[in-house]
């Protein structure tokens, strides 16, 4: 039978599987067919796994035995920086050419335990560095809504796979917006959890004080199902925490959304994006949500702060790629030369750029004025957010991105202008708080409709507030 993949969500697919409307194998076959048709144009997947149908058969057995959970049989795209034992993993970098993961990431273990199906490895910017997947060593992922435009990044493959109906859901990682920005560009839901909420064991590290794994999905409910499946403290990630389950905010007398107007005044923000954002706020207000102007006095420094702290951590995390332990090894005169040649040939331009910047901001004489100051500022930004949330605001709203998806090649030679695409998303990583991007409409360009997104940010551990307001927003738009 032909399955209507467009209408499918994790929850509805689960019901259909349970009722025997179709089997996991049939569902997986439908996705493989979509991938076969579309992936050559979109390039969301770097690899489609050869054993998808075997995985699906195992999941079918769970349905036959009546031993299913919410994600049994759900077909996932997995970002190429998340390890699945025995499979290739490369963070879309040449330096990991030929590398096979020797263990499962904790999030993968959790999904496997539920009987989820992994369709393939999703394309990304090399080592998750970028906002467009143009930094992938294996070619750019195109936006399913307009193939002349980027899908966003760094989890662009994950977002495009879900948006184009080539996966029901996906996992991505978010260091400064890498889940939310591509989700917004592709018209789907993307969520970055509270720092520590999801274990990063088995995630190829980029910025360790910022990285989080999270879901990309078609609905807020789907994102919530995935988040609840992958969260939790893990002895293999010392920064992971068990979130206290906070109560739903829906019973609050009135849900309060804070808007930092002063942060939206810059001229780098598209008029259409702002108009769409204001319209979204009006709809929320009509639906009984209180919109309150809030002040985040240091937020304008968040992006600069991010582009110091992140490369500093990158330069340290990427030191492990030396041609000795795994992946590529280039020839050299002596060991030092092997390191230099391997790293020089294996890392792409953006990775090299960030390693150099990171090395600079950490070097003697510059440490205090760059890294030290950025860390101090980070503390201030964190405090600003805490104060706003303590004043009774449940979530802060901004557009997810300052513009809709840009053209392929438009920013690829202008790193700084690419960095500015992260202006609204980095704040959540800097402050360690959860954030959710939900589709909010479209902007028109050249006869194509380009998706826009609204971002909600909550206080640490209050993912539930995001799901509450996100679902509410979905129903009123």
């Amino acid at each position: 039978m032909a399955i209507n993949l467009n209408a499918l969500t994790i929850a509805t697919a689960h019901d259909c599987l349970k009722h025997g409307d179709f089997s996991v194998t049939e569902l997986a076959e439908s996705y493989l067919k979509e991938i076969e048709e579309k992936n050559k144009d979109i390039h969301a997947y770097l690899e489609v796994f050869g054993d998808v149908l075997e995985q699906a058969k195992e999941a079918d057995k769970l349905f036959e035995a009546g031993k299913t959970t919410a994600l049994t049989g759900t077909p996932f795209a997995i970002k190429d920086n998340i390890l699945i034992k025995g499979r290739r993993a490369g963070a879309a970098s040449k330096i990991l050419e030929g590398y096979h993961a020797t263990y499962d990431a904790t999030v993968i273990k959790k999904l496997k335990a539920q009987g989820a199906v992994f369709l393939g490895r999703a394309n990304m910017d090399e080592f998750a560095m970028g906002s467009s997947t143009e930094n992938s060593a294996y070619g750019v992922t195109k936006n399913p809504h307009d193939e002349t435009r980027v899908a966003g990044g760094s989890s662009g493959g994950s977002a495009a796979a879900v948006a184009a109906g080539m996966a029901l859901a996906a996992l991505g990682s978010d260091t400064g917006g890498s889940i939310r920005q591509p989700a917004s560009f592709c018209g789907i839901v993307g969520m970055k959890p509270t720092y520590g909420a999801v274990s990063r064991s088995g995630l190829i590290a980029m910025g360790s004080s910022l990285d989080q794994i999270g879901p990309l999905a078609k609905t807020v409910e789907d994102a919530e199902i995935i988040f609840n499946a992958i969260r939790g403290r893990d002895p293999l990630d010392s920064t992971s925490i068990e979130l206290e389950t906070k109560r739903s905010t829906l019973n609050a007398k009135r849900f309060v959304v804070g808007v930092p107007r002063h942060f939206l005044a810059g001229d780098g923000i598209d008029k259409e994006v702002l108009a769409n954002f204001d319209e979204s706020l009006k709809k929320l207000e009509k639906a009984g949500v209180e919109i309150r102007e809030v002040k985040l006095p240091n937020i304008q420094y968040a992006l600069a702060c991010y582009y110091i702290i992140m490369p500093a951590e990158v330069s340290s995390n990427l030191a492990r790629f030396d041609g000795v332990k795994y992946g590529l090894r280039a020839e050299g005169a002596d060991l030092l030369d092997v390191y230099k040649q391997t790293r020089g040939q294996g890392f792409g331009r953006e990775a090299r750029r960030r390693i150099i910047i990171g090395t600079y901001v950490l070097s003697a004489g510059y440490y205090d004025s760059y890294y030290g100051r950025a860390v101090a500022l980070r503390g201030l930004i964190e405090k600003d957010f805490k104060e706003v949330f303590a004043s009774g605001v449940h979530a802060i709203a901004t557009p997810t991105t300052p513009s809709p998806a840009f053209k392929i090649g438009e920013k690829s030679n202008a790193p700084l202008s690419m960095y500015l695409a992260d202006i609204f998303t980095v704040t959540a990583n800097i402050a360690g708080i959860p954030a959710l991007s939900v589709p909010s409409g479209f902007s028109e360009a050249g006869g194509k409709k380009l998706p826009l997104g609204i971002q909600f940010t909550a206080t640490a551990g209050q993912e539930q507030a995001l799901f509450d307001i996100g679902k509410k927003f979905e129903t009123i738009k």
């Binding site: 600069a304 002596d334 030092l336 030369d337 390191y339 760059y370 100051r373 960095y419």
Partner: protein, 93 residues
Amino acid sequence: MLEIKDIEKLAELARLEIPDGEKETLLEEADSILGFVGEIQKLTPPEPAKETRIIRNVFREDKEPHLSGEYTEALLAEVPETEDGYIRVKKIL
């Protein structure tokens, strides 16, 4: 403002070979990025109160080790060059 020799020094520190033709562009890009992030230097942040966060031991107890050699084969299979169960590298001295 950075100079080419600064880029070379940083590349040396980072164990990174940068092709000659790319140093100029990298210099320009690094300058513009540092110019942008340097804006935080205009701000004199009040010294943030040194909060003591919750301190806990994040290391596991040193017991119940896995079997010796349990993962050796799988890990060595990923190493570019091995010899008799060792990782082979170029001479250091």
